[in-house]
């Protein structure tokens, strides 16, 4: 069954809203009601982790049953959120989609060059084996997978959802990959001074828009420590040391909770390598022998 059929069935079964994707080129999340079921799509540009919306503004409490479309990586968030009792399992219907990897839309623009006049529904994009096929304005382009794929997808351990109620499409057979923390090890091999230099250059750019915090499906505290004025752990001034404090605290709060969806790095307008920090914490957490799904208490949250 394809996504729309599955969604129709779910609406018949009493699901009120389905959080999914819409659009072909301008892909956006959508809170689809039953009459908008046709808008739901899934293509390699569906990059967002939609589970983020489940913890926003008490949304889950306002509806009886909601569906949410998840890729393999996003489904891990659901497990973590359930583990933290963020919402009850029977409120949500997880629509799992096995995923061959996703692409940043800017990468396509970069590869094809600026294309301006086209209609969104005439834009087509899909995986064909190890190639990405893009059709726009009657022309078709092909790109090899390893060239265009997002970094996080290259080391993806879970192309198939780890939790789902309904599955759309077929499970993907893929040789078992293992996260090897390549990028982290690269930084680790630098000397202390070199690392410092690398990081201050990055942290200096930060504009503290808090997009990395807001996009993170696991950052859902009702009042964030960063908004607290007494005690004020992170000052508001945007300076190097405050930025370091902010990013250390953010990464620390996600210790052993971060599922590596990479949204923080994607949304950052000044391109900070945030998942590097998250990965480092993940690596050390493994090394230190924290329990597999960390109860927030272990990191002091």
């Amino acid at each position: 069954m394809d996504l729309v059929e599955v969604a129709k069935k779910l609406f018949d079964e009493g699901v009120e809203v389905i959080i999914g994707y819409q659009g072909n080129f301008n892909v956006k999340p959508i809170f689809a009601k039953a009459n908008e079921v046709d808008k739901l799509t899934f293509n390699p540009l569906c990059i967002y982790n939609l589970t983020n919306y489940l913890t926003m503004e008490g949304f889950v409490d306002k509806v009886d049953k909601i569906g949410v479309v998840v890729k393999g990586c996003d489904s891990k968030t659901i497990l973590q959120l359930l583990d933290e009792n963020a919402f009850s399992r029977d409120k949500i219907v997880v629509i799992g989609i096995p995923c061959n990897g996703v692409i940043d839309v800017n990468k396509i623009v970069e590869e094809i060059g600026e294309f301006r006049e086209f209609k969104d529904n005439e834009f087509k994009i899909k995986w064909e084996g190890d190639e990405l096929v893009v059709e726009v304005n009657g022309k078709s382009y092909k790109f090899p997978k390893d060239k265009i794929l997002l970094e996080k997808c290259k080391v993806c351990e879970t192309p198939n959802p780890v939790v789902y109620d309904v599955l759309v499409g077929n499970l993907i057979q893929q040789p078992h990959r293992k996260e090897e923390f390549k990028a982290v090890k690269e930084i680790e091999s630098l000397s202390l001074e070199q690392r410092w230099e690398f990081w201050i250059k990055e942290f200096e750019k930060c504009i503290r828009c808090y997009a990395c915090r807001n996009v993170c499906p696991l950052c859902y505290c009702e009042s964030c420590v960063l908004e607290r004025l007494e005690p004020e752990f992170v000052r508001r001034a945007v300076r190097l040391d405050e930025n370091i404090a902010y990013h250390l605290i953010r990464a620390y709060h996600l210790a052993n909770r971060c599922v590596g969806c990479g949204e923080c790095e994607r949304v950052c307008p000044v391109n900070l390598p945030l998942s590097l920090l998250n990965k480092k914490v993940a690596k050390e957490v493994k090394d230190l022998g924290f329990s597999e799904f960390l109860k927030p208490i272990e990191v002091g949250r």
Binding site: K28, Y48, R116, I207, A211, V215, V238, V267, V270
Partner: protein, 322 residues
Amino acid sequence: MKALDKANLDKFVELLSEEFNVYSITDTDFSTDFDNNKALEILKPIKSAKEIVFPQTEPLFKFDLVGKEIVVNEKQNSTNLMLWIKPCDVRGINILKKVFEKDVKDVYFANKLNNTIFVGLACNNPSRNCFCTSVSITPYYKEGMDVFATSVNGAIIFEALTEKGKEVLEKVNSLLRDATKDEVEKAKEIHLQAENKVRRYNFNTSRLTWDSDVWRISEICLSCGICTYLCPTCHCFDIIDENYVYEGERIRIWDSCMYSEYTLQASGHNPRAYRLQRLRNRIMHKFVWFKEMFDEYACTGCGRCVSYCPVNISLIEILGGV
């Protein structure tokens, strides 16, 4: 009209640096540390130019925490020169000027503005998300600039617009030559070409009503501060006291109307607690209420909010210009 051969660009910047703090475009922002030749090619930095006149963190005054006294240090900052600033960013500063000079003059802003010289560059190659022509400016909008430049093949053509601008050109006079007629013609052509490249939308601000369906888009808004912090016209700020051991500072810092904490009152009441209210406030302020106050849109069409929105919320779509 004067012209500068691009071969002399390094010397040109060197000469200007003798007298001014020269800022120019880098990939992320306006900085004194820039790549001369690349700066001409970059369309616009990620951050807008408002940072120069309205910095993200700006100390208002210092205080001594022991004696509880205010210490005002009035240091005169040297003149900044903004090289190759784009029309949309200058337009942003013009709009900020209106806000900060209305009724009560904001001295911090005014000082910075007085100490800044704008050497603008016509925009040759607008991008996918640009829509400046739809909010009544063009890629060769000149208002607010001191010197207006156009990059033509191997040369840059200058036009001094103010006294300040004339002084700047005087300073580098040894490098300049008179522009040829061809070059002047070519510059005009480039301007028109660029204008045609920008996608034009028919915005319909009458659809921005209080309980319009448009605001449903806020469902997917993350209420992060990207759009407001990158916007050249957003000017909300917070005033906060920062304490160190014996002294402190009262600083003014950018704030974003997209944060729920922004309007949260001490009593716990929050007039704009929901993302819908906040998104509506932002858009309506820019396109309805600002128009009421100053008779123009608080938008320069730079397209940053469209390009960098994490969930692809498009201002163009909200305004009905699909």
